[in-house]
Amino acid sequence: MTTAHAGSRPTRRRIPRLRGDARNLPVAIAFLLPATIGFGVFLVWPAARGIWLSFTDYSVFAPGQFVGLENYRRMVDDPVFWSAMNVTVQYVVINIGVQTVVALLLAVLMQRLTRSMWVRGIILSPYLVSNVVTAMVWLLLLDYQLGFVNELLHAIGLDRVLFWGDPDLVIPTIALVNVWRHLGYTALLIFAGLQTINPQLYEAAKVDGAGEWASFRRITLPLLRPYLAMVLIVTSIGSFQVFDTVSVATQGGPANASNVIQYYIYNVAFTRYDFGYASAMSVALLVVLSVITFAQYRMTRAGQSDVN
């Protein structure tokens, strides 16, 4: 195919021919065909259909009628929707807040103390098991009667805690349980960011008499900022979609205290068969996620670190 140009240097040729070679087109199409089918049928088309469904009263049993903004009007007036949003935001704040701070600490510790593959492997291991497995084991560990944690509290003279059943505690509990699963993953992401910082900067700071805390604040944090922003965006988008733990451990209870938005959407769609309304709430969630991504990107100036 390209034999006619065999005389010229292959590496040079790439630049002037960037505009594309139409002869490659049929082969390129063949290579792209399966992925494009998947992309169109299971991603683009459903996304468009989801937006359309949010303007209809589609249920699983009957084809939907266009109802305009009716679903959105209902959403604004629905106290459970607002409660679910509220609960979800609380979850995300606790989950992401604790996870990011502890992961940052852990990443810095790893950088200082060890390159051991064992350590990195161990801290990543909870990430390998599913949310369902995570929920199951912590259901037992935090059980009121038999849970090891409550037995421990009891042994040191404290009251037992109803981790899964207290409306004020259930969201922090779920948030921290999921920190257990994602902590190592987040720490390794931040650790990868730390590797990009030139060690000579720390040497220089040390020579200048800077202490640990000073070099962390003046060197590590500013240089890590783009990484942290990326990590925050990725992890909070995941965090907003919390579902599995709630579904397995609490079913939204007690009394809607852990009824997060994704669980509410699921219930509206699959127990009330109100797909139109569920789709409208999905659109709302999508908007929230987009706004947060954009805001975090801007606020943390993700594109650049402070030092260049």
């Binding site: 070679d21 992925a35 088309w45 103390l113 492997g121 801290i123 291991s125 199951m136 037995e151 990590v231």
Partner: protein
Amino acid sequence: MTTTSASPHARPAAGRLNSRRVRRPWVGRALGWVVMGLVLLVTLFPFYWMLRTALSSNAALATNPTSLLPVDASLNGFRRALGLTTRQESLEQGGFGATIDFWRYLSNSVVVATVVTVGQVFFSALAAYAFSRMRWPGRNAVFAVFLAGLMIPSIFTLLPNFVLIRDLGLLDTLPGIALPTMFMTPFAVFFLRQFFLGVPFEIEEAAMLDGASRMGTFFRILLPMAAPAVSTLAVLTYMTSWNDYLWPLLVSQSDRSRVLTLALGVFRSQAPAQAPDWSGLMAATLLAALPMLLLFAVFARRIVNSVGFTGIK
């Protein structure tokens, strides 16, 4: 190992003036290891607790909830989880007599995860090849569209995809579970394209001079040279698919297509709230987690090293 930075202070001859500086890093490191040890303990303890509880008997658990070793050790928890006990036996052991078809769930999980992994990695690799190794008009525009797909959270396509799978008559089937992710994910295409770009062009061009076709170079040159990246992606895809819960929950309605994560959820929801069969539940949980832990044991280095890159996911 990493003590080189401390070497200026390592000489005891530095004298009294420096003694504080000598001590501080040592104390700091010790403190650091204590924190690290604590994190490792909290990370590993739940895994151990699963095993310890699974090997215990329910009756003994109730009276001895803190014993670090299995109490009244037996394999009955595993036998119940694997569905090897009769209903009568199960009830006597503190189980709840539910019928469990473990091997079916396991095989369903294996089939779904395998089909998704092979399909997604292969088709994404083909697309990544077209995006990274070939020049054709409109390439960058098409790639930008694919990239934009990264912005759509999976949650948003869930309901419409359910409607689509239902319209296709594939509810409660394994293809219904596998279909949406077996062609591609924008992430997989992006991931592989990055690696393909790093493979030198020269070898491929030489092969094509010798008359190899595009397909030939793809299979015989590019895939082998990008094997580390491809296998990393395959492992990650397998894990994601294996651990997925919400999508199978929507599609699957009976044992016919029930995957392991789902079965575990059902197992749990059938357990009586008052006296759950913790031993059986933990045995099932451990069995469900085991394949991923084994996969991790084999590919640990590769998975750990991939995390920095996959952060974009």
